[in-house]
């Protein structure tokens, strides 16, 4: 499995443990594709409001594409609104739809029906992926910023669960159509994101195994926040010999050795991610203690493009 596979898919789910930077990865992927002239939409799930922060733009509208950068759109999936739209498309008689969404009984149903919010969310994503205009796809790329691992996997599995649960009827047919697209290895790819730390990596490995066992197309892993390597073993040997009499020089050597140690651990985690998931992880560098904005997304998009062609990003010294 090689990295470029991810770049050929049309529907990309970005999945990973909380805090690994899924939104940043989704935004960087979207930026890379939009810059290459593709028409891209990034779908965010469950009111995250992250995209407007990252791109320093106005709020992303609910259930309507909002332009974030040239050719790049954000789409915030609103479950209540999507449920209503979904019912409207099936029931077709507007007063009946209104009656339904206004009734307390329906809201209780929506809250109690297992998997309904997830199904509706996934249905919206599916609509984006299959939308056509004048016989051509509306979107070249649909990037989904998923909820944290457990919830993200639940979101992906929901179509299969529902088509199993409902023996017949429109819901089942719909769920089945969605499942086909979500599991379509040619069109869909799941990118599992980790950070170079023990727990995010082990969670990524577990997620890859779970998803593959369930026949989901795991297309890539992405290691986000790799510290660019500044020191090598031969440096460490020199630094270890630094005379400790000069406190300033000793402190400097200590800091450099710490950085080397840290980088070594990060690379161990990178290897673990690679072997544990049988992938060649794409690497996104740590940009230091700065908030991520449009300029940083540009750098990360370049890094992803570069990583697509090589195993490791250009070394910054």
């Amino acid at each position: 499995m090689t990295p470029p596979e991810l770049f050929d898919r049309r529907l990309i789910f970005v999945l990973g443990k909380g805090g690994v930077g899924k939104s940043v990865v989704a935004a960087a992927l979207g930026t890379a594709w939009a810059r290459a002239g593709q028409r891209v939409v990034i779908a965010e799930v469950a009111n995250q409001h992250r995209l407007s922060d990252l791109f320093a733009t106005r709020d992303v509208a609910r259930n309507a594409p909002t332009e974030l950068a040239p050719g790049l759109f954000g789409f915030s999936i609103d479950v209540d609104k999507s449920t209503e739209e979904y019912l409207a498309s099936h029931i077709k008689v507007r007063p009946l739809v209104d009656l339904l969404v206004r009734s307390r009984a329906f809201h209780n149903f929506a809250a109690a029906a297992p998997g309904l919010p997830e199904l509706v969310t996934l249905g919206k994503i599916w609509e984006l992926a299959v939308a056509l205009k004048d016989g051509r796809p509306v979107w070249d790329k649909v990037v989904v910023d998923c909820p944290a691992t457990g919830h993200g996997i639940a979101l992906l599995q929901t179509a299969g669960n529902v088509s199993e649960l409902a023996a017949q009827g429109p819901v089942r047919e719909q769920a089945h159509r969605i499942e086909e697209v979500v599991k379509h290895a040619g069109a869909t790819g799941i990118a599992i994101v980790a950070r170079p730390e023990e727990l995010p990596v082990s969670e990524a490995i577990e997620a890859a195994a779970t998803l593959r066992a369930d026949h989901f197309p795991v297309a890539a892993t992405i290691m986000n926040g790799m510290t660019p390597r500044r020191f090598w073993p031969e440096d460490a040997a020199v630094l270890a010999r630094v005379d400790l009499d000069d406190p300033q020089a000793a402190a400097a050597a200590h800091a450099a050795l710490q950085a080397h140690h840290h980088s070594t651990i990060e690379h161990d985690h990178l290897r673990e991610l690679a072997t544990g998931t049988h992938t060649a992880p794409l690497i996104m560098p740590d940009l230091g203690p700065v908030p991520i904005g449009p300029a940083e997304l540009g750098i990360l998009a370049d890094a992803l493009q570069a990583a697509r062609h090589a195993g490791e990003p250009a070394v910054r010294r």
Binding site: A148, G150, R230, V238
Partner: protein, 369 residues
Amino acid sequence: MNISGLEGCRVIVCCGSGGVGKTTISAALGLALARNGSKVAVVTIDPARRLASALGLSALGDEPRQVDIGPTGSWGELWALQLDAKATFDRLVQRHAPSADAAERILDNRIYAHLSGAVAGSQEYMAVERLNELTHDLRFDQIVLDTPPAQNALDFLDAPTRITHFIEGKSLRMLLSPGAAAGHLGWKVLHAGSSTVFSILERVTGAQLLRDLGEFLAAFDGMYSGFSERAEAVRTLLHSPRAAFVVVSSADDEPVREAGALVERLTHDRFPIGAAVMNRIRPLPATEPPTREGLMAVLADAGARDPADLADRTLAQLEHDRARALRDHESCARLARLLGGRQPLQVPDFPDEPVEISGLGHVADALSG
């Protein structure tokens, strides 16, 4: 701010956004309290086996297991468990169903199988139920709860309300349960409004799914008030002085912002905030950086082949470390402002991740001040 304020608390809830080290802090907090002589149960609610690895255990069960925290002396006990939402749900059904027969009907229901096994939603419901069970377990003085990895760290707080809404769906049960609500007369006696809603819904879901759902909800008859009462009991406990919320953050921009939102929400809803923890803080350098020439000379003495190059990279590293430490410092100040001037507890960034009990000990030391 220190953990002494947490000593008399029955329940301590650790919350914060994903990836800030909430699970580690929960475990370390449990360890710190146990060292103070308390019998502590730490509950984690996470599909990944994070607490297990943090505690050096290969697998945690739904039942509390005692953790070996070394030579104890006057120390208390540390117990750990991982929430198994399905096991908790099953146990609940077996314990509270009106009859063994009714319990079996629920456990065999297809809707139940999906609902109880689902990650989304079910975890938050069951966290509340499990917490309720543990507050009645006299083996423990204190319970430390790690919250579920939700999109929104506040979701957990809404769980009791959602349970109550879910189970109070009386109109829905009227709508869906063929016998129980309508006295075995079937659908026809339901009043007009509901049956219209039903027939519209049926056009979308198919009749069978609705029938399954109706049977599922009917099977729960007689258990509804129990759900409601337990959720209310937990809610009351979480609002009382016997509970404390601990807001955990890392120094990154997004988690601090989320911690701020959390503090605001907890304050607004009058949940007691016991402490805030800023995790993985890097210290400001104790000395000024050396001069480039001075460093080059030292590195040349140490045998560097290209002292200028290594000196430049080392100085760049120092500058990087300083910028990060300054940012961390500023994040602490930001969180303190959000807390109305109370200082967060600071846990340093340890070079090696605290995934063993000894590593947790260092974090516990930092928390104890």
